[in-house]
């Protein structure tokens, strides 16, 4: 029997997880195609290279010899066209490349919302390796870059602000929402992060939109104009970080059905036979629970890779992500979330919020009013155990059980101060008033 050739476009976490699992389960021929970097690297850690915490090589989770040893063929090329009839790819170089089954795992690109000047030199995002290289060139220090303006208050925006501030580059941070990441975080947590961003001397402007990016005679960024006030801010760098979207333009010429991303069913199959899509670029036809149809998250990319490997190796399997979880770090404050905490409690839900007096630690729990069922938790500055919360979510634990046993879920280092008593006391007090 002919050895099946599985071709994966993209060497990010989804594609590489898939390849590793297929290799564990089978002897198929596997090729991973990327035009971004020779080897898999941790995208989430790009910031640490610019900050001088790590070098490029540290970002690679596997030694370079890993790929050959596991017979994972790496191809550096940029795919221009996918011909699903002939089962063939065309590269930018003109080379053609055949596949038996194709997996699209090409990730995201950063959003541009049609602002005048958005393609000028000096405007960057922070998604791929080339973005990092460009940033290093444009903003090596505060002499070459006297001020940077960041547009868009999300996870990448705050990372970019932290990065630039480590090189003593003044940063103005324009956030459309009332508070930082307020479209995801409840106001309490969002304000806590607002304060922390300002503590790091970032000029944070809330409720502020970009009108246009102004350029000099050479087509280089010179300033930005703010919509609300008309104020002109001089700057040498503009960071566009209002989210990401699937990087699927190269598929427009193919017969694969697209919407924002590559449309897939729960089996991660696209509209074309033997073509699959996973990770940031995949868009679920039917959203799964509360999850958005496109999820640009490290963990979901990994989980799709784990699932699809089973399907491709004969153990057909639906993509069934478990309970939602995520994490991030905003300057010095760590954030974890398990289950669902919405910006405002949903219909029939209510919440409990505790904040430490230092204003840098808090937890926020959402639960169902009627049944008291625990829905989700946000935690800032306190580490919590994934396994314990996953268990509580599975067994539909009540909020009382969660609060009562919060200590079991603590994951802070040894000898750290515990706040469970404070939290429990506040919860009891509030329950009393609510009961009255």
């Amino acid at each position: 029997m002919k050895q099946e050739h599985i071709v994966i476009i993209g060497n990010g976490i989804s594609g590489v997880t898939l390849a590793r699992h297929i290799r564990k389960l089978s002897d198929k021929r596997i090729t991973i195609i990327s035009s971004e970097s020779e080897h898999f690297f941790s995208r989430t850690a790009l910031m640490y290279v610019y900050m001088g915490h790590m070098k490029w090589n540290h970002l690679k989770p596997y030694e370079d010899k890993f790929w050959a040893k596991n017979r994972l063929e790496l191809k550096q090329a940029h795919v221009k066209h996918v011909d699903t009839q002939q089962k063939q790819l065309t590269f930018e170089s003109g080379e053609r490349f055949a596949y038996d089954r194709l997996v699209i795992a090409c990730g995201s690109k950063y959003n541009k919302f049609g602002w005048p000047g958005q393609d000028a030199k000096g405007v960057i995002g922070l998604v791929n390796k080339q973005d990092l290289e460009e940033l290093e060139e444009l903003a090596p220090n505060n002499k070459a870059c006297k001020r940077a303006v960041i547009i868009g208050g999300g996870l990448i925006g705050v990372e970019l602000a932290e990065m630039l501030s480590t090189r003593n580059i003044p940063v103005t941070f324009l956030v459309r929402e009332k508070h930082f990441w307020n479209n995801v975080l409840p106001a309490e947590e969002a304000q806590l992060i607002d304060r922390h961003i300002r503590e790091h001397h970032i000029d944070l402007r809330l409720n502020t939109n970009l009108e246009e990016i102004l350029t000099d005679d050479n087509g280089k960024v010179k300033s930005v104009k703010i919509k609300e006030t008309g104020e002109i801010l001089d700057c040498d760098l503009v960071g566009l970080t209002p989210g990401v979207s699937p990087n699927v333009d190269f598929l427009n010429s193919s017969s694969i059905e697209l919407n924002r991303g590559v449309l897939v069913n729960r089996m991660l199959e696209t509209s074309e036979p033997d073509v699959y899509a996973i990770g940031d670029c995949a868009e679920q036809r039917e959203p799964i629970w509360n999850r958005p149809p496109v999820e640009a998250v490290w963990y979901t990319g990994r989980m799709m890779g784990e699932t699809l490997a089973q399907t491709l190796c004969g153990n057909t399997m639906e993509y069934k992500p478990g309970h939602w979880f995520n994490s991030a770090k905003f300057f010095d404050i760590e954030y974890q979330t398990y289950g669902w905490v919405f910006p405002k409690p949903k219909e029939g839900h209510t919440d409990f919020y505790w904040e430490h007096e230092d204003g840098k630690k808090c937890i926020h729990i959402h639960y169902e009013k009627e049944s008291q069922q625990f829905i989700g938790i946000n935690t800032f500055g306190i580490r919590l155990r994934h396994e314990v919360f996953d268990h509580w979510l599975t067994k539909n634990a009540t909020v009382d059980e969660v609060i009562e046993n919060l200590g079991k879920a603590n994951f802070d280092p040894e000898f750290f101060k515990n706040y469970e008593n404070q939290i429990q006391n506040k919860f009891k007090e509030e329950s009393k008033t609510k009961a009255i």
């Binding site: 989430t44 900050m51 915490h53 090596p140 090189r167 580059i169 994490s327 994951f411 040894e414």
Partner: protein, 528 residues
């Protein structure tokens, strides 16, 4: 410019020192300059004034530098620009510092006369500069080792202070740093000096740092020390018994409960220096699999070497002189102990050992038995083919001086701060063996939260590829882990936690991580 080349070649803002940092560095260097000049017998008089000045300058310089570096910044991880600085990225200053350190150790170990230690007559040079302090503590004039001990303690206290500020948000880091500072100042420096004061004509104890345990303290059971212990009556015998119990009873119990960290990053002086003065170099350790392989071969060979060498030395005096334990009985005890340990491991822990470790264990065990057998067969007049003295002195030179000192500390700025602990220390190897096979300690990985960023691996001073485990959702149970806890500190997503828990389920290899569909996790993780 490609990121592959390494971004650190561009000279950027973070690498520049502030005015205060420069001034404080100058102050500290001025203190060292006084000591350096004193080597050339520049008549710093009165000595007590100049010695105080030099020590105070160094200490004040470090404290000032710490304040200038950390006090104006919010609490948190302080690794900005580590790879941009010449000193911490194997640049020009790193090599200069490496050369200075190495040179100092070579002079210290092999040419102490250059420092002013005179075989006849009073001290001169820098050793003489330290006489007032030595006399105040032990009543005796200083030696080159006293000078070294003082500087060593000063470095741990000074840079320990710096570390305390750097990690002021982290109680684990602070507590263990207080601990190494305490053990260095008390047990390694002051107590032995003061004990020396008690020595008289009819009572003499060897210089003994109670927490410097054999085999790290490879000379602890040499004849002159054992004789001194015995001659010092109950106290001496007590100390001798304590020395034996330390390695055979006390350390196994503590390592079972807490992992080897209780020693390596809470008590030990070598670890103390590595964690304080060596902290800025921790990321320089080699994380490759080849380095790991070298580590396993080298460190375990040194264990075999020191066991044979010590056995030979002890046997050589037990055989000829009159002690309550006969040479033959001693050899039989050593062989029995090794056999018991070996049999236990092979019976109960065979599955946990990787193939090569098993082979190595078998090989070394056979070697030891063969050597002992050789002796009983009477084929050689010498013990173990070589003379015991040759073994002892080559160990003292190759391992005691060259490895732990010249290479171990001298190369901090090049190979990182734990080269000795990782590749050379027989104590760490024995504790590591216990930690791997018989301990409650592990670094727990928090479900599926790892993003493979690599901060943990980068900042692991022992060169453990922590991420390789964390990204698989697997706990980290490695013999070399000294439990410094820095991986857990630098992790941006709260993925790692050092803890002691029941040994069951300590090693949990997983194929599919938490967060995915529960059925898939069960299917794959159990079907292996």
């Amino acid at each position: 410019m490609s990121a592959d080349v390494n971004m650190s070649v561009t000279g950027n803002a973070p690498e520049q020192l502030s005015v205060q940092q420069k001034l404080s560095t100058a102050l500290g260097l001025a203190g060292l300059l006084i000591m350096s000049l004193s080597v050339f017998n520049i008549g710093f008089q009165p000595k007590i004034l100049w010695l105080t000045l030099s020590l105070v300058f160094v200490a004040a310089g470090i404290i000032w530098y710490t304040k200038a570096s950390y006090t104006h910044k919010p609490e948190g991880i302080k690794n900005d620009g580590v790879y941009f600085k010449s000193l911490t990225n194997r640049g020009f200053w790193a090599y200069i510092l490496g050369l200075v350190f190495t040179g100092f150790y070579i002079v210290l170990y092999f040419y102490p006369s250059l420092l002013g230690l005179n075989s006849e007559g009073a001290n001169t040079g820098v050793v003489a500069l330290f006489d007032p302090l030595s006399k105040a503590l032990s009543g005796n004039p200083a030696s080159q080792w006293f000078v070294y001990g003082t500087l060593y303690t000063l470095a741990i206290l000074g840079f320990g202070f710096k570390f305390l500020w750097k990690y002021r948000h982290n109680s684990y880091q602070r507590l263990r740093t207080f601990s190494v500072m305490f053990f260095q100042l008390g047990f390694a420096f002051i107590i032995p000096e003061v004990m020396a004061r008690l020595n008289g004509d009819d009572f003499s104890l060897p210089y003994y740092n109670l927490v410097n345990i054999w085999p790290l303290n490879y000379y602890n059971f040499e004849q002159y020390r054992v004789d001194e212990f015995i001659s010092a009556g109950t106290v001496g015998i007590g100390l001798l018994i304590f020395g034996v119990l330390s390695i055979l009873v006390i350390t196994p119990i503590l390592t079972y409960k807490y992992g080897k960290r209780w020693y390596c990053s809470w008590v030990c002086g070598c670890g103390g220096l590595a964690e304080t003065a060596g902290d800025p170099f921790r990321h320089l350790s080699d994380k490759s699999q080849n380095a790991w392989k070298l580590e396993r071969w080298l460190v375990h060979s040194i264990v075999v070497f020191i066991v044979i060498s010590t056995t030979a030395v002890v046997y050589s005096y037990l055989r000829y002189d009159d002690y309550w334990l006969s040479g033959t009985a001693f050899l039989i005890s050593v062989a029995s102990l090794l056999t018991v340990v070996f049999a236990w491991v092979m019976v109960y822990k065979r599955q946990e050992l990787q193939k090569d470790a098993k082979y190595a264990a078998i090989g070394f065990f056979v070697l030891i038995l063969a050597l002992i057998g050789l002796h009983f067969s009477g084929m050689s007049n010498n013990i173990f083919i070589l003379e015991a003295e040759t073994l002892r002195s080559s160990y003292a030179f190759a391992v005691g001086a060259m490895f732990s000192g010249v290479v171990g500390v001298g190369f901090y700025p090049i190979f990182g701060n734990r080269v000795w602990c990782r590749f050379g220390c027989p104590m760490a190897a024995i504790l590591g063996f216990q930690q791997r096979l018989f301990s409650k300690f592990r670094i727990t990985t928090n479900g599926g939260q790892c993003i493979s960023c690599g901060n943990c691996s980068t900042y692991c001073e022992m060169g453990i590829d922590v991420r390789a485990y964390a990204q698989k959702g697997e706990n980290i149970v490695r013999s070399s882990c000294v439990g410094c806890g820095i991986c857990a500190s630098v992790c941006p997503r709260g993925v790692l936690k050092l803890e002691n828990d029941t040994p069951a389920g300590r090693i949990n290899s997983k194929e599919i991580l938490l967060g995915n569909d529960v059925d898939l996790m069960d299917l794959v993780n159990q079907n292996k």
